[in-house]
Structure formats: C-alpha cells, structure tokens
C-alpha cells in the first residue's frame, strides 16, 4: 500500500479515493482504459491501484508511441541510415528499441552515425551544420509531437535545407481507440483521455465515443489527484447512465484544441490509407504521411525502403498486453528474458510502456517483499 501522505495533498487524495469507493457499485466490475502511456507510468509510479476498490480494473491503452511501432519500421529506418553519408537522428526514447539486427544504439556501436536529438528542429540544425551529409529524422509520436515535426518540415522548406528528411511514423489516437472498441475481446466501460494529445486536438474528436458508443471519457492531467478525479468523473457518469466528454485537465487543455498546431499538421501531413500498429494490426487512416508537396523531405519517397514486415518474437506476447488481454507479468518472457535492461519487446523499453512500468514498480516491489519474507 502506497502511503497516502507522500502525495501533495493527502487529505484530498483520501477523500477522492473514498468518493471512488462510494460511487463504484460492488456488484459491478469496471474496466477503465487510460489511453496515454504517461498516465500508465503515473498509475504504477504512485501505486494508484492501491487506492481503488478491487472491482475497478485499469486497462493500459495504446498511447505509448514507441510501443505501438512495428519492428519492421525500425528496420526500415535503420536501412536508410546504412547508406553512405546519412546521419540517423531520433529522440532518446527510440535509441534502445530493438530492430531485428539490434537497436539504433547497437547500430551506433557498430559504426552507424546515430545522434540523439531532443527536438526535431535540432535534427534540422544538424543538417545545416553537416552540409555534406544527409540527416534523416526518425519521427515518432501522437498528435502531441506531430505538430513540431510539421513545423520543422515547413522550416526546412522556407529555409531551403535539402540535406534533411523525415521518416514519418506519426500516428493518431482516435482510430486506435476505435480499433479497441471494435475488437471483440475488449470490453471497456470508460476512458481516461490523454492530456497532452488533447492540448492539440481538443476534446471534440472524442465526442463520438460518448454519442455512438455510449462510453464516458474524462480527459485527464498527470498528477495522482488528476487521475483519481477523472475516475470519479467517469464513475459518476456510469452511475447516472450518462456518456459525455469531460475535461478534467482544463488548466492546460482547451476544448477546441490548438488551431495553429492543427494547421501546421494539415499543411504538411495527410492520412495514410492504413498503418500497422504493434499488437493492434492494420488500422485504417490511423497514421500520417508527408504530403506530395513536401516529397523532397520525405525519407520514404527519397530513399528505397525495404518495407519488410517483421513478426514479433514468438514467445513475446506484446500484442495481448497492448490490448489489455494479458497483464504484463502474464507474458512468458516478463522479468526473465525481457527486462528494462534487456528488452525483447517495445513495451519494456519506454518508461511509458506498461511492461517497463509494471517491472519498475510492481515487480521490483514484489521481489523485495519476497526476499524480505525469505530472510524473516
């Protein structure tokens, strides 16, 4: 049990936890999905499960960008970087994600020019300072990150920087939620909506979930109290047999989203007819590609891409864990072959991946309890 007094406002946390217990019908089992990987991390880090009654089950959603990226796309990106005079630039999160021949970091150890950047605009700067090289930025992320890539591409165009391209792996959250709701083995009662994605897209894009699917959604912040308050919001709706979109994170998320960001995305990107998601398979209109007018900066048009499809290691059950059908520790490789130090699947790489979060907080806690028990 997490000590409540570790929280910033322990009394409010206790009251909110009690409110959740009052609202939850003991005869009912609730499955609430937190869509965003940041929420998954917070839930494990703060041990929020301990503050909920046992009939509330939190299902970890697909909102961890590196986790849903198929291994074939990593191989494709690395194949471009194997060509002479190419610099592979990516966020730190990507560096340890395994491809079939190893991660970008392992390729760097074998001599590939791999650079960590903290911003897509720094990848563009890298191109300016290395005019005799080509810089390929491996872009990942949902709508939180896609506008920054879009602006970087617009700047590459206006500044006439030609030794730069983007390997675009940006995905969109709404089609993934739709795929989850369409999946026959998934039964979700309500959603905790992503916080920072919603600063860009706003709350309107979720309205169909309430209207057509009759499921409550609460767009949530990342503090423990935010997440608990969002659970209260959806439980209140379920109790009143309502379904609407509520914005718990009003202090950051405008209902209408960020128009400048949406415009930048629309200028540069268009929807792909379909895109493969790890664990969820092919989802139509679920990812972005670079428009023809920016083809010069599109790594997929500029270079030959093998487009290999790679199946995940047979024993790894990333797909089932991603869909919430299995809990992380129920995968055969969890904590044995697959650990944060030696990840087999992508869910173990990112701190937002449910396997890494489970391993870092739950599994280590259990291991400690077991070793103390054996000493006693």
């Amino acid at each position: 049990m997490k000590f409540v007094d570790e929280f910033r406002d322990p009394e409010v946390i206790t009251r909110t936890s009690e409110e959740i217990r009052r609202l939850a019908d003991p005869k009912r089992h609730y499955r609430i999905m937190e869509v965003c990987g940041g929420h998954t991390h917070a839930i494990y880090r703060f041990g929020l499960k301990d503050l909920l009654p046992s009939n509330i089950e939190l299902i970890h959603g697909p909102g961890c960008p590196v986790c849903v990226l198929p291994m074939g796309r990593i191989d494709d990106g690395l194949s471009i970087a194997k060509q002479p005079n190419v610099i592979f630039a990516a966020f730190g999160d990507m560096m340890r994600v395994p491809g079939t021949q190893g991660s970008p970091l392992e390729h760097k150890a074998r001599g590939m020019d791999v650079r960590i950047v903290y911003s897509p605009s720094d990848a563009l700067k890298l191109a300016q300072t290395n005019p005799d090289k080509h810089v390929m930025f491996f872009a990942i992320g949902f709508e939180t990150t896609a506008p920054s890539t879009a602006l970087t591409l617009l700047r590459a165009g206006t500044q006439g920087i030609h030794n730069f391209s983007v390997f675009c792996n940006h995905v969109t959250i709404i089609p993934a939620i739709r795929a989850i709701l369409d999946s026959p083995d998934m039964r979700i009662d309500a959603f905790i909506g992503p916080g920072h994605v919603s600063t860009v897209i706003g709350c309107r894009p979720y309205e169909w979930i309430a209207k057509n699917e009759n499921k409550p959604v609460a767009v949530s912040g990342f503090e423990p109290l935010d997440i608990l308050q969002s659970i209260v919001m959806v439980l209140r709706q379920l109790k009143a047999d309502e379904a609407k979109i509520e914005n718990q994170y009003k202090r950051v998320v405008p209902w209408e989203g960020n128009h400048a960001a949406l415009r930048a995305m629309a200028d540069v990107f268009e929807l792909r007819p379909y895109f493969e998601w790890r664990g969820l398979g092919f989802i139509s209109q679920s990812a972005l590609r670079i428009r023809e007018s920016y083809a010069e900066w599109d790594a997929e048009q500029r270079f030959h891409i093998p487009g290999v499809r790679v199946t995940d290691p047979k024993a790894a059950q990333c797909g089932e864990v991603l869909k919430g059908v299995l809990k992380p520790h129920q995968c055969k490789l969890f904590g044995k072959e697959c650990t944060p130090e030696h990840p087999v699947g992508a869910l173990m790489v990112s701190s937002e991946g449910s396997c890494a979060a489970y391993f870092n907080y739950e599994h280590r806690k259990m291991a400690m309890v077991t070793s103390i028990a054996s000493v006693v």
Binding site: S119, T144, R251, A260
Partner: protein, 97 residues
C-alpha cells in the same frame, strides 16, 4: 515522452518572431513559438514545452504544479536533460547555461 516541461519566457527576439528564450529552473534555452502563433506569449508568460516547441500558455501556478508533477513522476531529471539538450550548436545556449 508525452510529458510537457514548464518554462517562463525571459526574452523575445524582434528579428525572430518564432523564437523565445525560456527559463526552466535556471536553464535557459531558445524554444520555437510556432505552435502559439494565434496567441503569442509575451515576456514573463509561462508555457508548456514539448520537444523544443512551446505548445500552450499556462498560469504560473500551473507551471509550478507541472514542475512538481515531473518531480513526483521521477521525470524532472530527464526533463532537465531534455531542456539542456535543446539547440545543438546554439551560441546563446552555451552562454545562457
């Protein structure tokens, strides 16, 4: 990677309308304002930064809350590393830090 970092606008550049110098707990870096074109911040305003771009304006109170959230999540160090990493070859950056 979806966590946003709070910072305060300390300088605007008349010749670069898309850029601002932002202070994040004493570390100063240039960030891009292109996503706030409809509602540009002024000196003293607080913003949330994601991958080198200011993505929304927030109140000072919310900025302090957000920093506390990052600390509570054990992400403060990674956030500072990210901010320090912005601007590979930016002369202002080396000066400011």
């Amino acid at each position: 990677m979806c966590l946003a970092i709070p910072g305060q606008v300390v300088e605007l550049f008349p010749d670069q309308p898309h850029a601002a110098l932002i202070d994040v707990v004493g570390v100063r870096r240039k960030v891009d304002l292109g996503l706030l074109l409809d509602n540009l911040p002024v000196k003293g305003d607080w913003v949330l930064i994601h991958v080198g771009f200011a993505m929304s304006k927030i109140s000072e109170e919310d900025a302090l809350d957000q920093m506390r959230t990052l600390r509570m999540l054990g992400e403060a160090e990674a956030a500072m590393q990210e901010v320090q990493g912005y601007g590979l070859d930016n002369a202002e950056n080396t000066k400011a830090s």
